[in-house]
Symmetry: C2
Subunit: 455 residues, 2 copies
C-alpha cells in the first residue's frame, strides 16, 4: 500500500460501535433512556466485569495477530509487529475501567478505537515501519483505588509500585481488597515489571471524549490536545463541636458543616477570580443526626488551571480563606446576616495528588493535525482554531497520557460529547464523532510511524 493510500485509511464505524456496545455489556450501569444502549457503566477497576473486558482485549488483540503481555500493575500491552521490531512500538490506547456511575465512552472509546485501528491495518495488509501497540491502562479513574492514572504513573516511575499495590478499595466502602489482591484474584498480576524500561514506548496517542462542552458548542469535530491542565487534590478536615440543634444558639455553635458551606463557596469565588476551577465531590460528616450540629466534616477539594502558578495561588488563597472562616472571620461576606459565633472551628489540609501542567509533543500534535486535515478538509491554525473543523485545546481532565508524556512523545485526540457531560451514565458521543476520532487516531499513528521510518 502506498503512503498516499495509507493516509486515506478509514475505520469501520459500525464495527467500532459494535465493539463499544458489546464490551459495555460487562459492567452495565444505570438506565437513562429507552434504547438498549442507553445505560451508563459501572465497571470498577479489577472487578469481575473489568476482568471480562480485559479477557476480551486479550482474546481480540491476540486473534488480530498481536503479542500481548501484562505488567505488574495489570496494564495490558498488545503489539502488532512492524518491519523493524528492534525499536519500541508506537502506542495507541486508553482505559477500560469506569466511574461507579460513568458512561460508555470515557476511556472505552480510546481502547476500542485502538483495537479498530489494528483491524483496519490488518484488513489493508499494512506493513508499518515499526511495531504498533495498543494499551489498556489499569484503574485510570482512581474511583475504586483512590489514585487516578495510577498504573501509568507506576509505568513512568512517578509512583512506587508498592504504594500502588497497597491502595485499598474505597468502593464498596466495606471492601478490604487492595490493588495487588484484586490483580491476583482476577489473574492480571503480570510478570513483566511495570516500567517504561520494561515496556518502552516510541510514542503514545490517546483518543478520548472531551468531557467538556467546548467542541460541541463551537461545532468542531476534533480537539487537538496540546497539554493537560495542572491540578491538585486535597482532603480538608473541619473540626467544630457536636451540639444539640435545639438547645444551642447560633452564638454558641462551632458548626463544622456551616463552616464547610462557607469554604465551598469561598473556593468557588477564589477560583473564579483566577479563571481557575475548584470543586468538592466528596463530603463526609459526623455524627450525622438530624438534631446534632456536626462537629466534624471532611471534604475533597480539586483545584485546576492550565498554569501551575495559578493552582498554587488558588491553593494559597483558599488556605488563608478557610483559616479565616474557621476562626469566624467572614471576610468574604458570605454569611453577613448570620449572627457571629463565639466558638470556632479548626481546619486541616492534606495534599492527596499533584499533577503539574503537561505539555504534549510537537511531533505527535502535528501528526494529529495532519490526520484531522486529511479527514475534515484542510485548514490553517488561527489562534486556537484549526480551520472550521478543529481546535487546539488543553485537556481539563488528567489522562494516562500525562504520565506517558514523561517517558515518550505523546498527545491526545478529543471528540465532542453531548452537552459536555461525562462521569455520568448519560455520557454520549455520536457514532460519527467516535468514528472521526478513531480515523484521526489511526491517521496520526500511521503518520508517526512514517515519521520514524524517515528519520
Amino acid at each position: 500500500m502506498s503512503q498516499k493510500d495509507l493516509s486515506s485509511l478509514r475505520v469501520n464505524k459500525e464495527r467500532l460501535m459494535k465493539d463499544i456496545h458489546d464490551t459495555c455489556e460487562w459492567g452495565k450501569g444505570e438506565r437513562y433512556g429507552e434504547h438498549e444502549t442507553e445505560t451508563g457503566m459501572s465497571r470498577l477497576s479489577l472487578s469481575d466485569t473489568d476482568k471480562q473486558a480485559r479477557d476480551w482485549f486479550h482474546e481480540t488483540t491476540t486473534a488480530l495477530g498481536c503479542k500481548v503481555h501484562v505488567d505488574a500493575m495489570g496494564n495490558q500491552f498488545a503489539v502488532r509487529p512492524g518491519l523493524n521490531n528492534d525499536a519500541p512500538p508506537t502506542y495507541a490506547g486508553s482505559h477500560l475501567d469506569t466511574q461507579p456511575t460513568g458512561g460508555r465512552y470515557d476511556g472505552i472509546l480510546g481502547v476500542t478505537a485502538a483495537v479498530e485501528m489494528l483491524r483496519v491495518l490488518n484488513d489493508n495488509w499494512v506493513e508499518t515501519a515499526y511495531p504498533i501497540g495498543v494499551v489498556n491502562w489499569t484503574n485510570e479513574e482512581g474511583a475504586r483505588f483512590p489514585m487516578s492514572m495510577v498504573a501509568s504513573g507506576v509505568w513512568s516511575g512517578d509512583i512506587p509500585v508498592e504504594k500502588a499495590h497497597n491502595l485499598k478499595s474505597v468502593i464498596p466502602s466495606n471492601d478490604t481488597a487492595t490493588m495487588k489482591s484484586e490483580l491476583e484474584r482476577i489473574g492480571y498480576l503480570g510478570s513483566t515489571p511495570c516500567s517504561w524500561e520494561s515496556t518502552p514506548m516510541a510514542a503514545h496517542f490517546e483518543l478520548h471524549i472531551e468531557q467538556g462542552p467546548i467542541l460541541e458548542a463551537e461545532e468542531r469535530r476534533i480537539g487537538v490536545v496540546q497539554g493537560v491542565q495542572s491540578y491538585k487534590w486535597f482532603t480538608v478536615t473541619v473540626k467544630g463541636r457536636d451540639s444539640h440543634t435545639g438547645a444551642t444558639s447560633f452564638a454558641h455553635r462551632a458548626d463544622a458543616l456551616l463552616t464547610t458551606s462557607k469554604m465551598i463557596i469561598a473556593s468557588h469565588k477564589i477560583a473564579a477570580k483566577h479563571g481557575a476551577l475548584a470543586s468538592t465531590g466528596i463530603l463526609n460528616l459526623k455524627p450525622g443526626s438530624t438534631n446534632t450540629v456536626p462537629g466534624w466534616v471532611q471534604f475533597s477539594l480539586d483545584i485546576r488551571s492550565p498554569q501551575d502558578e495559578t493552582v498554587e495561588k488558588v491553593e494559597k488563597e483558599c488556605k488563608a480563606a478557610f483559616s479565616a472562616l474557621a476562626a469566624g472571620d467572614d471576610f468574604m461576606n458570605i454569611s453577613s446576616d448570620c449572627p457571629p459565633s463565639t466558638r470556632h472551628c479548626t481546619v486541616e489540609w492534606r495534599t492527596d495528588f499533584i499533577s503539574p501542567a503537561t505539555h504534549f509533543h510537537a511531533d505527535c500534535i502535528s501528526c494529529v493535525q495532519s490526520a484531522g486535515q486529511d479527514l475534515c478538509g484542510s485548514g490553517q491554525v488561527k489562534g486556537k482554531d484549526i480551520g472550521s473543523w478543529g481546535k487546539l485545546m488543553t485537556s481539563g481532565a488528567g489522562h494516562d497520557s500525562v504520565y506517558a508524556s514523561k517517558r515518550c512523545p505523546t498527545t491526545m485526540v478529543f471528540v465532542p460529547c453531548r452537552d459536555g457531560v461525562s462521569h455520568n451514565p448519560a455520557e454520549y458521543s455520536a457514532p460519527e464523532a467516535c468514528a472521526d476520532g478513531a480515523d484521526v487516531l489511526l491517521g496520526a499513528v500511521v503518520r508517526y510511524d512514517k515519521l520514524r521510518g524517515q528519520r
Copy 2:
C-alpha cells in the same frame, strides 16, 4: 414523717453518681479525658447494651418494692404503691438510650434521679398519698429508629403503634432490624398496650440536663421549664447533574453541593432574622468522587422557635430561598463573585416530623419552683429569673414530656451542663448539679402528691 420533714428530703449524691456511672458501663463510648468516667456513651435504643440498662432498671426498681410492667413499645413503668392505689401514679422519668456519640447525662440523669427518688422515699419510710411511678421511655433520641420521642408519642396516641413498630434501624446503616423485631429480640415487647389509657399518669416530671449554655452562663442552679419550643424536621433533596470537575466550566455546572452550601447559609440567615434556629445535621451526596461534581445531595433541616408561627415563617422563606438558589437566583448575595451557571438544580422538600410548641402545666411548674426555693433559698419571679438560683425557661430540645403533657399535667427540671454541650461524648454535669436536679425532682413529685391529696 410530717409534711414539713417531707420538704427537707434530700437525695444521696454519691449513690446517684454511682448509679449513673455504673449503668454507663453498658454502652460506653468514646474516651475524651483521663478519668475512668471521662467517656461518652453509645447506647443505641434496643441494642444489647440498652437491654442491660433495662434489666438493671427492672431489677433495681423491683428490689425497691415496685411493680414493674412493660408496654408494647418497650416503655418500662415501675410503680411504688401509695396510700390510695385506685388513682394513677405521679411519674418521674426520662430515657436510657443515647445518641451514637452521646454523653452520660442526657436522659440517663432523669431515670437514675427518679430511681434515687424511690430509694430516698424507702429510706425514709415515706407513705405518699398516691402511688409514685418511674418511667424509662424507649428510643427517645430517635437516633437508631429515626423518630424521636416515638414511644411516648405512641403512648399519647399521636403516633400509631404499627408505624412505630415498623421503623427501620438506621444505625448501623446495613441493619435490617425494625423496632418490633428488636423489641422481640431483647425481650422487651411488653403485653400491655402502649397507651395513656392502659398506663395512665396523674402527672409527669422529667429532670434533664439543659443541653444549652444559659444556666451555666448565668450561674443558675435550676431551670424551671415552662414549655418546649416548636420544631419541624425536613429532608431536602437537591438534584443537579454529575459532571467532570476538570472539564466542566463553572458556567456549565449544575452543582448540587455548591447549591446546597448556599441553602445551608440561607437557612441560617433566615432563621437568624426571625430569632429562630435552623440546622443541618445530615448530608449525603452522590456519586461521591473527587473528580465528579455531585449531581445529587440530600440533607436534613431542623427549624425551631418558641412560636409555631415563626417556624412556619422560616419554613416558608427557606422554601422560597431554596427554590431561587436552585434556579440560579442568588438574591441573598451569598456567592456574588461566582460566575453564574447556565444550568440549574431542582429542589424537593419532605416533612419528616412536626412538634408544635408545648406549654407545661401550672401546677407542676409551681411544685418545681417551690422545691427549688426550698433547696436554694427563696426567691421571687422577676421576668424569667427566680431569685438568683433559678430561671423560667423554654426547652430548646424536645423530650418525652412533650407527648406526656398531652395526656397529663407535666413539667421538667433543667440543670446546667458544662459549656452547654450535649449530644457529645464530653457532655458533663457536675455531681452537685445532678444532685440539685434530683433534689428538686424529688421535692416536686412529693409536693404534687401532696397537692393531689389535698384536692
